[in-house]
């Protein structure tokens, strides 16, 4: 029974799950409040959930893990900065940001998808570097684009965007605070969770359509899909476009909760933790479900919130960064080496 559970869940998940459990159990003994940490975990879960969700279409279509997530993030950042530039505030502002970033993400995703179709088999490495170079390219763009809004532009120069832009007067916590409630120190961002649930539902719905079914088949066996009359390349492009769009929406959700837009090298290492989270949830390089996303994000963000507080109180040193690096990259390594054994 136990063996079977471990076999289906996989060793890494069991170990990390137990580790997280141990953290929660020890927390009260070392003076860390469970309610705050749980609430922190949930907030971070909501912040990152949509971005992790963005992995699903590409993984399902066999394009591998979306190391090119920064591209979607860039689209989101463009949408966010433009909505602020136009001075739209509140819910409408957030909607504007989403509305503006979706077409940008679609265009970027389309080009990115076309590129990935020409480099089949090497997608992940190329995606990583496409992501990196587009971030660096945007660094130049942030400096040069003609933004004028003084909340965003460097005060003394009048041009070039700041590294971090506060969204306080625009749409900070616009989702999080919707219907949110507080019990003591426990804060629950209801709106953000509703939004995440809605996004999950959209993905679920899409995966049930004819196109979604075809996409799953492409990821599972492209030859089968081709023999079944599916245009494999088109499916892959659609998946990349979807992933990019969800990446853009994901970063907007993240920003409204975080309260700041991080530009320049901000999106640089966005992809790795996101990829690690979905793998932690039990996804493989070519199969991922919404369940994987929920479990993975919770475990990953749980560890991220709990280790600094608990481990620090126990060991009196901050090891959270090191643990994050080891866990996230170890997870990706595990997935990469496991896939090779099955497929080749």
């Amino acid at each position: 029974m136990l063996k079977k559970f471990i076999a289906t869940a996989g060793w890494p998940r069991v170990i990390i799950g137990l580790f997280l459990l141990a953290l929660f159990v020890t927390a009260p003994f070392v003076g860390v409040r469970i309610s705050t940490s749980l609430s922190d975990t949930l907030v971070r879960f909501g912040m990152n959930g949509v971005m992790v969700l963005a992995m699903i279409p590409m993984v399902q279509a066999g394009c591998g893990l979306n190391f090119g997530l920064p591209l979607g993030v860039i689209a989101g950042l463009l949408g966010a900065t433009m909505s602020i530039e136009f001075g739209v505030r509140g819910a409408l502002g957030f909607a504007t940001a989403i509305g503006l970033s979706i077409p940008i993400a679609a265009i970027l995703g389309y080009g990115y998808g076309q590129l990935l179709n020409r480099v089949k088999g090497d997608e992940m490495m190329i995606a990583t570097y496409v992501g990196f170079s587009s971030v660096a390219f945007m660094c130049m763009a942030w400096l040069l684009l003609p933004y004028k809004n003084p909340t965003m532009v460097w005060g003394y120069q009048g041009t070039g965007l700041r590294t971090t832009i506060s969204v306080d007067n625009y749409w900070s916590h616009i989702l999080s605070d919707f219907l949110s409630f507080k019990i003591g120190t426990f804060y629950f961002p209801t709106g953000m969770f509703l939004f995440f649930a809605a996004m999950c539902f959209l993905i679920w719905l899409f995966m049930k359509t004819k196109t979604g079914t075809a996409m799953t088949a492409v990821g599972s066996n492209p030859e089968f899909a081709r023999a079944g009359g599916v245009n494999v390349d088109r499916m892959r492009v659609i998946s990349v476009v979807l992933s990019t769009i969800f990446g853009a929406i994901g970063i907007l959700v993240y920003e409204q909760s975080f309260g700041f837009i991080q530009l320049y090298m901000g999106p640089f290492y966005m992809a790795l933790p996101t990829v690690a989270a979905i793998l932690l949830g039990g996804a493989s390089v070519n199969r991922a479900t919404i369940f994987n996303v929920v479990v993975g994000t919770f475990l990953f963000q749980g560890i991220l919130t709990m280790t600094p507080s608990v481990i620090n109180s126990v060991l009196k040193t901050d090891m959270s960064e090191v643990i994050r690096i080891i866990v996230s990259n170890g997870m990706i390594l595990y997935a990469l080496t496991r896939k090779a054994q099955v497929k080749r």
Binding site: V119, D122, F137, M140, G160, G330, L333, T337, K339, A340
Partner: protein, 375 residues
């Protein structure tokens, strides 16, 4: 004796287009440099001096990438493992206050077993991810970076004795962010002083690099080198001929890791400061970018690519910020431009390689088709 009367199936009449694709990257760079050098307003002697220093500093690291490419394992993003091993060697040498050339050699001796161990680990992992070597070694670099931090930031000064308080953080364990390597700073570069006009040439470093080049030339002639070339071209055939494929691949990575360890030590003796938690990060990316800029591809690289690459890459590196300021009134633009170029060039090279691979495969199939479709 009878001669077979049929010409080769696949003639080497590859078009101008594919020739351009092979050399696209260096050509782009030469163009960028030609435009940017006058914009930067640097004097020729300044540029030459800077280049000479940077060639000495970086070549060894880049050369360490050649052997895995020969073995068909692509760009060894895992070379940062070697860099970390080198840094561990340097930390101990600083702690023991061994200075000068003995210090450098000792750092190499200490770094070697660490690099060998990490290399074996890396090789074994890559053997489990055949066909995905690059992305796997890339992630492995991050992973081992975590382990490295665990050791250096928490274990050193606690489990691993460090006697020199100047190295340890004020909290009592963990190594400081920056270690000044005063004892071995530029000792190799200045071992054999040579001054031409106002330009100083680090002769000894160049001799070491030359020795390394000869090592690579010699290595290619050995049986081991031959086996690696065979594996690089066709693993299945090499296996059926009885070449121990997995073992040889591990050896290739081990050699690369150890050499990267030495390369990092040479790099840091020139820099004079060890950024305990960052120095190795950039080693991998910059070396790979430089090699690719030199016209190497994922499957083919030579010593010429290394030196062309190091010159072009660092030329761009030196002039970009200044050119950016002169052109756009903002040095930051140049900074970002060179970051963009480093990453962009790796992306471009990977894309070109993947394209070429798919094209070659299609071509190979077409040659098998024989006369079909032409009748």
């Amino acid at each position: 004796m009878s001669r077979l009367d049929r010409g080769p199936d696949k003639k080497r009449n590859r078009g101008v287009g594919s020739l351009l694709a092979d050399y696209a990257v260096p050509v782009i760079f030469i163009v960028i440099s030609v435009v940017a050098i006058p914009l930067s307003d640097f004097s020729a002697t300044y540029l030459i001096q800077e280049l000479l220093v940077r060639i000495g500093r970086n070549s060894f690291l880049i050369l360490s990438l050649l052997i895995p490419i020969m073995a068909g394992m692509g760009l060894n993003f895992g070379m940062v493992l070697g860099a970390m091993a080198g840094q561990i060697g340097l930390i101990f040498v600083s702690d023991w206050a061994v200075v000068g050339i003995p210090g450098i050699v000792l750092a190499m001796i200490i770094g070697t077993p660490v690099a060998v161990a990490l290399g074996i680990l890396c090789g074994e992992v890559l053997n489990r991810a055949k066909g995905q070597e690059m992305v796997t070694s890339y992630i492995l670099g991050f992973f081992i970076n975590g382990v490295y931090q665990l050791f250096v930031l928490y274990f050193m000064g606690w489990l691993i004795p460090i006697s020199n308080p100047a190295l340890v953080l004020s909290r009592g364990h963990g190594i400081r962010n920056a270690i000044s390597l005063t004892g071995i700073r530029m000792v190799l570069d200045r071992l054999i002083p040579l001054q031409v006009g106002t330009v100083t040439i680090p002769v000894a470093t160049y001799l070491v690099i030359a020795a390394f080049c000869f090592f690579i030339l010699w290595f290619r002639k050995t049986k081991l080198g031959q086996d690696m070339r065979a594996i690089g071209q066709d693993m299945a055939v090499a296996d059926s001929a009885g070449i121990p494929v997995n073992r040889t691949r591990v050896i290739a990575i081990v050699i690369s890791t150890v050499l990267a360890c030495y390369g990092q030590i040479i790099f840091l003796q020139n820099m004079g400061t060890l950024n305990t938690y960052n120095s190795h990060d950039q080693a991998g990316m910059f070396s790979i970018a430089a090699l690719l800029i030199g016209g190497a591809s994922v499957s083919r690289a030579g010593i010429g690519n290394v030196f062309l690459g190091v010159v072009l890459f660092h030329l761009m590196f030196i002039v970009a910020p200044k050119a950016g300021r002169n052109l756009m009134g903002e040095a930051q633009i140049g900074e970002y431009f060179r970051v963009f170029v480093s990453y962009g060039i790796i992306a471009l090279a990977l894309v070109l390689h993947a394209w070429k691979r798919l094209r070659d495969r299609a071509e190979a199939r077409r040659s098998l088709r024989g006369p079909a479709g032409k009748e």
